[in-house]
């Protein structure tokens, strides 16, 4: 009798403090030591150590890493397949198209001098796209398996903040569900920046998403933006027979970061392949007619207007963070003037248990950068320690030849007033490049004039994308050009050009 008068008290349960954040949630269903049900809500949400909104590269890597660390983790993705832009409509499908279009182009134009006589060569665009889709499907399914293997729950649906700890999900299969997390990662990625005045239909006015899924090779194509995405897609369709013109507002191709000397050389090589460039040019307006799209272009600083017609216009002027429908207003999170979530060095937003990683926040919009951040952010949650060196993030443009760089370029160092020295080595003096009949391009080292420490490495040439890994490692470990130059490189390899460029920087090359 007296027992009923005693105030009800929730059974003592230790708070989960293993990962820094105490459990601050309301009551949940469970059986107490005294076998009495605790008071609970009828539709209580799942409770996780980590909830990740977005299953792109940042999101899925964080989910796997958190699963490996023993966290109870859920990853929410609305696309229906994991991997985000990169795996589904970005890096991966474009690499398939780039590789196969290069093969096609090489078979057409680069076999006779190698002693190979080729008969009638036909392009089967349907099969071409099918090969791409198969690579994408294989990889996205593989990621799904990895999540399962590491105990991460994959929820297909669109997540939005209901409150600081709860994410409400509109499930793809219909219905709703909510998940609660001690920690929440926002990894919603980015989308193509639209061009004012042109409506994207992904058929004739396209972004990179439409550019990897065209149903026929356009006769004429105009690419607005001469950055990495624009040039890669321009290369693909140019190789397949399209007449491609690239319009770039700035005075050099490649976007920010690419060294001016390398950009100039790359432009020359790409122009030889048939690409047309209009630099220092802006698109004033566009008119989508029934037969063609008419773009009015003029000099960036103002000048005479010119007309440029095309069957397809690719808008590749950059990407912007994607936070639509995320319910940021429900938790009071704001973005900066460019739509990026503001974070501190541990990826925390102003609500410390909500972190943002990948394209949705600061830094270059690169998949490998997102991956690094995902690992570091999970480590901050589990170990209070993480590491990403933003000074050593490589960039690669997968045209032919590839262009890759890491660290600073000459213009940046000049602006910073740093005294530097440069060492270059052309692939035309490299034995392996010679045997491959693939001698265009060079390796360029930039090192501190006094200490010889490597400040930047820039490559245009065959296999540059793979070669830059060595440069990134050197930069990460604070190597000097002499450290690289005195390291034995196998012969005959393209990597010898890398070693010799380092040798030029502190002494002299052997083969040039």
């Amino acid at each position: 009798m007296l027992r009923t008068l005693l105030p009800r008290r929730a059974p003592a349960r230790p708070l989960v403090t293993q990962f820094g954040a105490a459990n601050t949630f309301g009551p949940s269903l469970g059986v107490s030591a005294g076998q009495r049900w605790r008071r609970g809500y009828a539709s209580e949400a799942d409770e996780k150590d980590l909830v990740i909104i977005g299953g792109g590269v940042a999101g899925y890597v964080a989910a796997i890493k958190a699963g490996q660390a023993g966290l109870k983790v859920a990853c929410i993705e609305k696309r229906g397949s994991l991997g985000g832009t990169c795996l589904n409509v970005g890096c991966i499908p474009s690499k398939s198209l780039l590789n196969n279009s290069h093969l096609y182009h090489q078979i057409l134009h680069d076999t006779k001098k190698r002693g190979i006589e080729v008969g009638d060569v036909q392009l089967n665009l349907q099969q071409f796209m099918k090969a791409k889709d198969q690579s994408v499907e294989g990889l996205t399914k593989g990621v799904e398996y990895l999540l399962k293997k590491n105990g991460a729950e994959y929820i297909k649906g669109a997540g939005a903040f209901a409150d600081e700890h709860t994410v409400q999900i509109n499930l793809n299969e219909g219905g709703e569900r909510s998940v609660r997390g001690k920690n929440i990662f926002i990894a919603t990625g980015s989308e193509s920046t639209p061009f004012p005045g042109l409506t994207i239909d992904e058929k004739r006015v396209i972004t990179s998403t439409g550019a990897i899924a065209l149903e026929q090779v356009p006769k004429k194509m105009t690419v607005i933006g001469g950055g990495i995405i624009g040039l890669e897609m321009a290369s693909v369709w140019s190789r397949l027979g399209s007449e491609v013109t690239v319009v770039e507002f700035l005075g050099q191709i490649g976007g920010p970061g690419m060294d001016a000397e390398i950009a100039k050389m790359t432009q020359k090589i790409l122009a030889k392949q048939g690409l047309k460039f209009k630099l220092n040019t802006k698109v004033a307006s566009g008119d989508v007619g029934s037969d063609a799209i008419d773009l009015k272009i003029e000099a960036a600083k103002g000048g005479k207007e010119e007309s440029l017609d095309a069957d397809v216009v690719l808008v590749a002027i950059g990407r912007r963070p994607y936070t639509a429908g995320l319910g940021l207003e429900n938790v009071g999170l704001e973005t900066d003037e460019r739509g990026r979530l503001v974070i501190d060095h541990q990826y925390r937003t102003k609500i410390p248990h909500i972190r943002a990683i990948g394209d949705v926040t600061f830094g270059p919009m690169l998949a490998h950068k997102a991956e690094e951040e995902a690992v570091a952010a999970v480590e901050y949650v589990t170990k209070a320690y993480g590491h990403v060196n933003y000074g050593a993030i490589p960039s690669v443009m997968y045209t032919y030849p590839e262009v890759a760089w890491v660290g600073q370029n000459e213009a940046e160092l000049k602006a910073a007033g740093v005294k530097y020295k440069v060492g270059t080595f052309p692939f035309s003096a490299n034995s392996r490049a010679k045997t491959n009949l693939d001698t265009e391009g060079m390796v360029k080292f930039i090192a501190d004039a006094q200490t010889d420490r490597i400040l930047g490495i820039h490559i245009v040439g065959p296999n540059a994308g793979e070669m830059i890994a060595e440069g990134t490692l050197a930069l990460e470990y604070g190597a000097s050009t002499e450290d690289v130059g005195r390291t034995c490189h196998a012969h005959p390899t393209l990597a010898e050009a890398f070693k010799e460029a380092a040798m030029v920087c502190y002494d002299k090359a052997i083969h040039y």
Binding site: P364, A384, Y390, G478
Partner: protein, 125 residues
Amino acid sequence: MRATLRLLSGQRQPMIRFVGKRHPTHHADPTPQTHPAAPAPLPNTFASYRQTAQQHGPLNKPFHSLGTAPAPGRIGAQPASALGDVRPARGEAWDRNELPARFRRRPLTPAEIEAVESGGASVYA
């Protein structure tokens, strides 16, 4: 001679150093710091913020140091100490209306006057 120099300078030391296994730092500072890839680094301290902050001109410098003629009565024209004591002299009293506008009584609105005169009844009318 050259050989001696070489002996003195010793072997070349690579710049690459083996850092060994990385351990989590238990004394990691949890206080928020600017993200390294943030566009414009936020100032670490309020003092450093004042060095660059702008509000009607640079925040850290008084107006008279800017080379412009200090307008009399303008905020920041003189240091606060030059404005005299904040208390009235002994035996004196300041009228409330002599104070800056923000310290004076707010004028009543007609609705408030009506409410006072009707004993609050007008509020419910």
